[in-house]
Amino acid sequence: MGKVLPSEDVLIRMQRDVKRALQRNAKDVRWTMVIDLGKCTGCHSCTLGCVSENKLPPGVVYRLVIEEEIGRYPSVRRRFLPRPCMHCQNPPCTKVCPVTATYANGQGVVVVDYNRCIGCRYCLVACPYSARTSDFGEWYTRGTPEAPQILVGKTAAAQAYEAKPSTEYGKKWPVRGHGSPIGNARKCHFCLHRLAVGMLPACVTTCTARATFFGDRNDPQSLVYELLGSPRLFQLKPELGTHPAVYYLK
């Protein structure tokens, strides 16, 4: 009798892959994501997981799921395409930054130095994947009422989420007022703060269909290394020569 169910959740294996990568020389690690479009159900859990993890305000999104309808009735299909930052190996966004505030780190992750970014938004315009957003200082609770003993009220609601500091890039960003990252360009950073402590990015762990895979592509034992050999593999807009570190499986 053939094997029907996997013996372990892929998350467990990827967790081991991440821990193994952390023990290697950091310069040799190249973080990579593979997304299996055949498995994605379009549940948007990854988007919500990311928003929640990074305390993203309204209008800022790192990983959204594009829904595409193909064909004409009655022969119609729906396709879901999760789109994080591609972490290009030849990133068009970093070259245009006038103040070296965005760059690829040692592991190939394109990051933003919030304390250096001037908010010119040239990188937003240069990104071919629309993967960067600007933080315009929005609040979910702005305009909501404060009604003690009737409603929870905006202060309490804010304290439960957006008044909490974001921990992006391993720092505790202050409560949203006038300081960074308001006014900055923001983008997916593969949850570097989680990786630093051996945890997978939030979008990977929250993926209900286990369609998102993550690991070090330079590690022959890793799951992503195996997946990169798949004939179903493709990249978004390969003609641009950006060489994304995010791959898709058809």
Binding site: V61, E68, V96, C117, G119, R121, Y122, F136, N184, K237
Partner: protein, 410 residues
Amino acid sequence: MQRTSYTLLIGLAVLGLLAGSWGMAQRLLYGLNPVAFGSYVPWGLWVAFYLYFLGLSAGAFLVTTMAYVFEMERFHRLGRLAAYTVLIALLCEVLFITLDLGRMSRIYRFLITPSFSSLMTWMFVLFNAMLIIYALKTFFLIRGDLVAWSKDPKRKGRGLYRLLALGKSEYSEKDHRRDHKIVHGLSLVSLPVGLLFYGTNGAFFAILMNRPIWNSALTPLLFIIAAILSGGALITVLTHVFMRDAPLVRALGRATLFALVAFLFLEMLQFFVGYQADVPWAVAALNLIAFGDYWWTFWIVHLGLGGLLPLLLLLAGKDNTTAVAWACALIVLTFVAVRFNFIIPDLAVYKLEGLEHTFYHARLRTQYTPNMNEWLVSLWVVSVGLLAFLLGARWLPVTSSDAGGMEHAH
């Protein structure tokens, strides 16, 4: 310029400043939160105005080219007015682009952590080079008069003129000759710097590979011609208003006509190549210009009022200075539509299929209409520029067409 017109313009500028202050206060208190642009159309009205003033600053560049490259003597006397106009246009430019920054307090980062792979850094370098060149040029063109005015007992504010002349109390023939040499040298330097400056501003957009209209070798050239056209038209209007020199206005009108024809031809090429290549994104962006929500800014404001009508006026009324001045005024006033139609449509096309149907938020949409805050801030900046220009025209020797001025500009 008549006193009543002058007072009226000063009044308009002050009113504009007062009205615009509300927008400025919001901008300074709440950052970019009050603006209408978002992450998919990240640049809006202020960048369009930045490009508009960039073009206007090219007026002196045109004058310099004609005076010192083509050795057209008659343009020498425009030196002061042209140089001062550049300074004001650069002032407006820098205000617009600084206000557009999400974190404008970090503008010093251009100095301490510059990235020379970014064309924005080069724009910053070339902008400052232009500012220095034209500040020096203005100073050396008017220094003789500043010294004379500081000693004129009938003139108010003699102390200020002495300060502006950097304490110089005598102005000899030797000083005159030396200033003339400096101005000549600065004019020659400003040629390559200006070409690079205007070209770099075009290249800034042209290098973005995912932007179908911008990503063309034609863009830097289009920027240079656009700058010469709008700047030349502005100088023509100012010459008509402040100097009343009919032959000079007619000569500038002919140069503007040439620039207008060249610009319209390049624009036609852009549309022709875009539609013939039939790349969906490029066609979508061109369609937005020609048939989108703002079609009227292209067909009526730009092509009609800013293209065809000035063309007819410049051709049919080439010997009539009023007709020439009106044609140029129309070009200047309507050119902001050209800049708006350059910036917005290419941004307003989704670069990934299906992006428009996901994650709804007003900042993640390609529909963009400048809101009241953006208009008020723009009004404030334009009013600052207008006020600075009018005060300079009244209290500084920038529009005098006396023999000294003519010789200085040589």
